[in-house]
């Protein structure tokens, strides 16, 4: 395998965002994934969201496990530190990284095998702890990298490329995240950029455990009839509960909406999430209702997408641990070492 760098020549007309970066500054080297793989679309959506939000690329740390999905951090945000860790263990590495420096934006990328099989435990516990992060699962229902075995999110009754019917119950990571206390839970589809990009932006603005389950078809092993994770199937069964118009505080609200069709959520940083409801009865602030809704619609074979739940006042791990504001990695012996005089007292107390 070779490393293909993209030509660095910038077209002068490439527009710069408020942070002074062009869209190209958020890209990475050319992807080596299969042409048409859903994961590449998600990478593109991440690039778009970071560009839109004027994020400084070097203030992002991107972490992943192992899988085709977990390879994608190489292909976006080339100026960010990245960490391709071990299979299923991205959440713990991300948690530790987050403890070391609370000032960066932590982007965790994983696959359905990585998060729902080998890494289910770490996925679950990172949600419970409320790690401040954006956790994206590129969910294709198979192990892409090991060539097409069923993953734990494959629906019961769905058919593999080789014709095997899956008899195991699927794990719905979004439902689990809801139950385990994630404060932002969404589901989307790699083929629906207009829905996905604002969801990622909203997740980035969220200060807490933000989880997005993105259905992301694997063209090599799971895009055939009988699969419930194929482009065709997801397009036909996509049930969006809402659409986000994500706007920052400074922007004016220009569009008028019919009453009852919009839900506004003010995020911790002052930004406003505007949810244009597709299903009028849906309340994105109700965790339990979100779980029920998701389950009911899944039973009907539908794929519920949109912002399923957001807690407007999320708590996060550093708050629970009551840590200082300064990043740990900047503290020196001056702040951390109690010194020899104190040690002499400790010695004296041990005699």
């Amino acid at each position: 395998m070779t490393y293909i760098a993209k030509p660095k020549l910038h077209h002068p007309s490439l527009t710069r965002n408020k942070a002074g970066y062009t869209r190209r500054d958020y890209e990475g080297p050319v992807s080596t994934l299969c042409a048409g793989c859903g994961h590449d679309s998600i990478s593109a959506a991440i690039i778009q969201a970071c560009f839109d939000l004027d994020i400084q690329p070097h203030r992002v740390a991107k972490l992943s496990g192992i899988g085709c999905s977990s390879k994608t951090p190489t292909y976006f945000l080339g100026n960010s530190h990245g960490f391709n860790s071990v299979h299923g263990r991205m959440p713990s590495v991300l948690t530790g990284a987050n403890l070391a420096n609370r000032d960066l934006l932590y982007l965790g990328v994983s696959g359905d095998g990585d998060s729902a099989s080998i890494g289910l435990g770490q996925f679950a516990h990172s949600m419970r702890r409320g790690v401040n992060m954006v956790y994206i699962v590129m969910n294709n229902g198979v192990y892409g990298l090991t060539k097409g075995q069923f993953s734990a999110t494959a629906d019961k009754g769905s058919k593999s490329k080789r014709g095997v019917i899956n008899s195991d119950e699927p794990i719905d990571l979004a439902s689990l995240a809801l139950q385990l206390g994630a404060t932002f839970v969404a589901r989307s589809f790699s083929g629906d950029k207009t829905q996905l990009v604002p969801l990622i932006e909203a997740a980035i603005a969220h200060r807490g455990a933000a989880f997005i389950d993105v259905i992301s078809p694997c063209v090599a092993f799971n895009n055939h009839p009988g699969s419930t994770k194929s482009y065709d199937y997801v397009r036909e069964h996509n049930e969006a509960v809402n659409r986000i118009d994500f706007i920052t505080k400074r922007d004016e609200i220009t569009t008028d909406y019919a009453p009852g069709t919009v839900q506004e959520v003010v995020q911790h940083d002052g930004s406003i999430l505007r949810l244009r409801k597709v299903d009028e009865s849906y309340d994105a602030n109700n965790r339990i209702a979100a779980m029920n809704y998701s389950q009911e619609h899944h039973a009907k074979g539908e794929v519920v997408t949109g912002l399923l739940y957001v807690d407007p006042e999320p708590q996060e791990l550093h708050g629970y641990l009551h840590t200082v504001d300064a990043p740990f990695n900047r503290l020196s012996s001056r702040e951390l070492c109690p010194g020899s005089a104190r040690l002499a007292k400790i010695n004296a107390s041990l005699r």
Binding site: M1, F83, G96, A100, N329
Partner: protein
């Protein structure tokens, strides 16, 4: 019957029921002797088998300062009816049995080659106290009182300890003194206190402190600047993380904001705890985990990743016996191999072997420095014997001029000035590359971290030569480690000898005692205490200088011996294993007997042997 006679040199063992409050009374007993200037070395024995909730506390009183386990019991304080028979059987002939004789026991439950001392503890207690909890707790203090009379322990030393413990809690202080005197008064009135075991004031303790290795290591990690602790409870390491938190609650709270200058996460398992440590280390915080063998087993994939990705991580392994439950509450040095070469692929890791709480403190702080300097996992290999027992050891020292060695970290200024950055580039010829913390510079210094598949500039590569290039640099880095780790300490024999002995870790006090005894018997051996892996050249020189080298270890397979043979290309025939691994701490008695036996066999010339 000849009664055992000994001054400042005997073993008292307490057989208790867990949860009866005996631990603090027993510690009081040990400390009061220390306050008289007489060294003691106590050990907790707490089986996993909880029937009858037995727990033992064995106190070696040792004027010579031999802090290893001695073996044998001169006096048994038998407070647990469930273990009575085995406790009585364990007393050395001529020894003493101290027990609660409130309820009479048939003669068949005793022995006639020991001195039996009965005190009606329950009766005294019930007469003095009505509250059941008080009855239970003060019963222990009453036996300490009676023992102090029997053994000549200075009651003033005990009262002083009470005064320190219950400062500002006068009521508790008074009631404890009252209980102590109940025991002393009974002994004075009813017992023949002229027994053969006595404590006499001495001056052998010096400025030493009395602390367990886990607390010492925890404090070393506080001093060494650890900010992130991620752990999963496992005996015998749990108290290390718990002490870290406890120390941090007083030593690591920002005085201005009241916020914490540390974070501790109880992870869901060891895979997660090491993952967090690696994530934090990657991001520039000093992080550690405390665990034991089974935890290390679970961590190995990650440890390999940290080796290849070159991420600092400090792992304190408080070793115990084998997998599952049972023996695991016993001590061993049986994780040497599994830690030295933990993980898949060609890996080797730095190991430090502290001998006591003093070195637990020192090496834990040093491990954080080494992990940063070498950008690799560093293990501190303690064990249950050091970790969970209070031990007299040299006081902790810290030089205020000591700054943390954060190793080669490229700064924003250096990147801005255009200094070349290659994450896996050996600039200085020592095999150690430069790293950057995430978020350092807007345009430079970012890299993608992965296992082995990369070139000097951290770019993806699956090319064979590129892989080999990186692996050879890692070997060079390991060579560099040799001069940075704690160096071995030698104890030359008083007479020139061709025999040597190597030992490490918690074997140390018993080894020194054994060397004294062997020397007294005319067997001279040069000794070296190995304090780290990679082995320094001095270790190999020591082996080369001797015809025969004994390697004393607390495991079955001679793990360190195997590593020495392998790494040094040494003839196995000259490397003689002395192995103790039944879960009890190794004793000088065992070492002396084993080495003397083996030497005797070598001293017989082969010709004679054939002839006989």
């Amino acid at each position: 019957m000849t009664r055992i006679q000994a001054v400042n040199d005997f073993v008292v063992k307490f057989a208790n029921v867990n949860g009866s409050g005996s631990a603090s009374a027993n510690e009081l007993f040990a400390k009061s002797i220390i306050r008289m200037g007489v060294p003691v070395s106590p050990r907790n024995i707490f089986p996993s088998n909880i029937q009858g909730l037995p727990t033992w506390y064995e106190v070696r009183v040792t004027d010579q300062g031999y802090l290893g386990r001695r073996g044998g019991v001169d006096m048994m304080v038998a407070m647990n009816p469930q273990t009575w028979d085995e406790d009585v059987a364990e007393i050395s002939p001529g020894g003493y049995l101290f027990y609660d004789n409130t309820k009479p026991l048939p003669k068949s439950r005793f022995r006639d080659d020991i001195t039996v001392i009965g005190v009606p503890l329950t009766e005294i207690c019930n007469a003095a106290y009505s509250d059941p909890r008080q009855r239970q707790l003060f019963k222990n203090i009453i036996y300490v009182g009676a023992l102090s009379s029997l053994l000549d322990i200075d009651p003033a030393a005990i009262e002083k300890l009470f005064a320190e413990q219950y400062r500002g809690k006068e009521k508790l202080l008074d009631s404890n003194i009252k209980a102590l005197n109940l025991g002393r008064d009974y002994a004075a009135a009813h017992l023949d206190c002229d027994i053969g075991l006595k404590v006499k004031p001495s001056d052998r303790v010096g400025d030493r402190i009395f602390i367990d290795g886990n607390s010492a290591a925890a404090l070393g990690l506080v001093y060494g600047g650890a900010t992130v602790c991620a752990w999963y409870p496992i005996t015998p390491s749990s108290s290390l993380a718990e002490s870290f938190i406890k120390y941090c609650q007083t030593l690591r709270v920002d005085p201005e904001t009241g916020k914490n200058l540390f974070a501790s996460v109880q992870a869901e398992d060891e895979l997660a705890s090491i993952g967090m440590v690696i994530g934090a280390g990657w991001n520039g915080a000093r992080a550690f985990t405390a665990t034991s063998g089974p935890g290390v087993s679970l961590m190995t994939e990650f440890i390999g990743l940290a080796y290849f990705a070159e991420i600092p991580a400090t792992i304190i392994n408080v070793q115990r016996g084998g997998p599952s439950t049972g023996m695991p509450t016993r001590t061993q040095q049986a994780d040497i191999l599994s830690c030295a070469y933990a993980s898949n692929g060609d890996t080797k890791h730095v190991l430090l072997f502290p001998e006591d709480p003093h070195e637990c403190f020192e090496f834990s702080a040093t491990a954080l420095d080494l992990a940063d300097r070498l950008q690799t996992p560093v293990f501190v290999m303690t064990d249950l014997d050091i970790g969970m027992n209070q031990r007299l050891s040299a006081p902790f020292v810290w030089d205020d001029a000591r700054a943390y060695d954060r190793g080669k970290v490229m700064t924003e200024e250096e990147l801005e000035a255009g200094k070349t950055f290659g994450r896996y580039l050996d600039v200085d010829g020592d095999g150690i590359p430069y790293r950057t913390y995430p978020g350092t510079h807007p345009k430079r210094g970012a890299y993608f971290t992965r296992g082995t598949t990369k070139d000097r500039y951290a770019r993806y590569s699956e090319e064979g030569p590129v892989y080999v290039d990186n692996m050879e640099r890692l070997v060079k880095k390991f060579e560099t480690a040799k001069s940075l780790v704690p160096q071995p300490l030698t104890r030359p024999a008083k007479k020139a000898t061709r025999n040597g002995v190597l030992f490490f870790g918690s074997t140390s006090p018993s080894m020194h005692e054994a060397l004294d005894r062997l020397e007294a018997a005319g067997e001279h051996l040069d000794a070296m205490r190995i304090r780290a892996y990679p082995f320094c050249d001095d270790v190999m020189d020591f082996i080369a200088r001797h015809d025969r080298v004994f390697i004393v270890e607390q495991n079955r397979d001679g793990q360190l011996r195997g590593m020495l043979i392998n790494e040094g290309g040494i003839d196995p025939a000259k490397m003689i294993a002395v192995l103790h691994y039944d879960g009890t701490p190794i004793t000088a008695r065992f070492i002396v007997a084993d080495i003397a036996d083996k030497l005797a066999r070598y001293n017989v010339t082969p010709i004679k042997k054939v002839a006989s």
